[in-house]
Symmetry: C2
Subunit: 194 residues, 2 copies
């Protein structure tokens, strides 16, 4: 059972534009050609931040229109948000806030031996890293640059460094990079900007 940050990012380290657009991402390839189908099968619990959840509501689910897609995850999903959120009928969504550690314990129990997926954003994943709870980072590096946007992971992880486990080319649009994450040194010096 691992806690994994699985995401797409640009070559210059952004997961979305400053206004949370992913329009740069979808022309780059078909998700079914990537490691995603194999990855999601082993996931038992999902966590995401409020901006990611908001993006899914607005672009995929569109609850007000009744014409959106169904909620994509069978797994229970924890949404970190400081305020109450609109829920999706039929989806197991739990809105939480505060310290990631007790939530992670709850997610582990629910995952029952399968993995915990941190969808993003970067700051939420950073909090799991700070707490020593992040095991792997799997990035689909898309063949674009944005120059500015939402950061992949706003932390300094250098000593010890990440450990590159594998690389995989997916057409001309993606390089999939898989890393093991060292245990965070729990001093302030190990933390990046807030």
């Amino acid at each position: 059972m691992k806690t994994q940050y699985y995401t797409a990012a640009t070559l210059d380290g952004f997961i979305a534009t400053e206004d949370d657009s992913l329009d740069w991402l979808f022309p780059l390839g078909d998700v079914n050609d990537t490691s995603y189908p194999g990855f999601i099968k082993d996931v038992g619990a999902v966590a995401m931040g409020s901006a990611t959840y908001e993006w899914m509501l607005r672009h995929l689910i569109k609850p007000a229109t009744g014409k959106g897609e169904p909620w994509p995850y069978d797994q229970p999903t924890w949404v970190f948000s400081s305020r109450q959120r609109e829920l999706v009928p039929g989806a197991d969504i739990r809105v939480v806030k505060g310290d990631v550690r007790p939530v992670h314990a709850e997610m582990r129990a629910a995952a029952a031996g399968r993995n915990v997926w941190l969808v993003g954003g970067g700051e939420l994943v950073g909090q799991f890293y700070d707490a020593g709870l992040l095991d792997e980072i799997i990035v689909q590096v898309g063949s674009v640059t944005l120059g500015r946007g939402k950061q992949l992971l706003p932390r300094r992880i250098t000593t010890p460094s990440l450990k590159l486990i594998s690389v995989n080319q997916v057409g001309t649009g993606f390089a999939e990079l898989r890393y093991e994450v060292p245990r965070a040194i729990t001093s302030d010096a190990s933390r990046g900007p807030r």
Copy 2:
């Protein structure tokens, strides 16, 4: 003959810390295990920005001490700088400023069929990209994150996207990614932040 941006960067898209430190880079592996020895043999002319040149003087050449390393390039080197710079005895260094296009023409002629290497930084390479003069980006993605620092390439390149040509794992410290660069669309809309 190609114009290539060959550099190391972090997973989150930085080529140096905000104060131009590369201390995160050197523990990640031996440059001789990477594509660098093969790459540099085909280079006929070198360009760099003033911060990169300053870094080399301070950390490698150390002209004031007389105890530094020799200038590492046999190839003629163009340094883009708005002011005069200290030169290195015995090295073919040409300090230039302004539009990259006439300088690129001069570099091409000097390279005599070999490649033009843009060492960095990102803003200088961005100017070559804007002028439609950048053919390839080769990034050694180091297994670290910095959270903040000097950007790999402060431009938006999405439509058309880069084209991933190859991926190569170098130990656990580097993933080498090689991209072809599309011709820049020369409208302001294609440009990133300045």
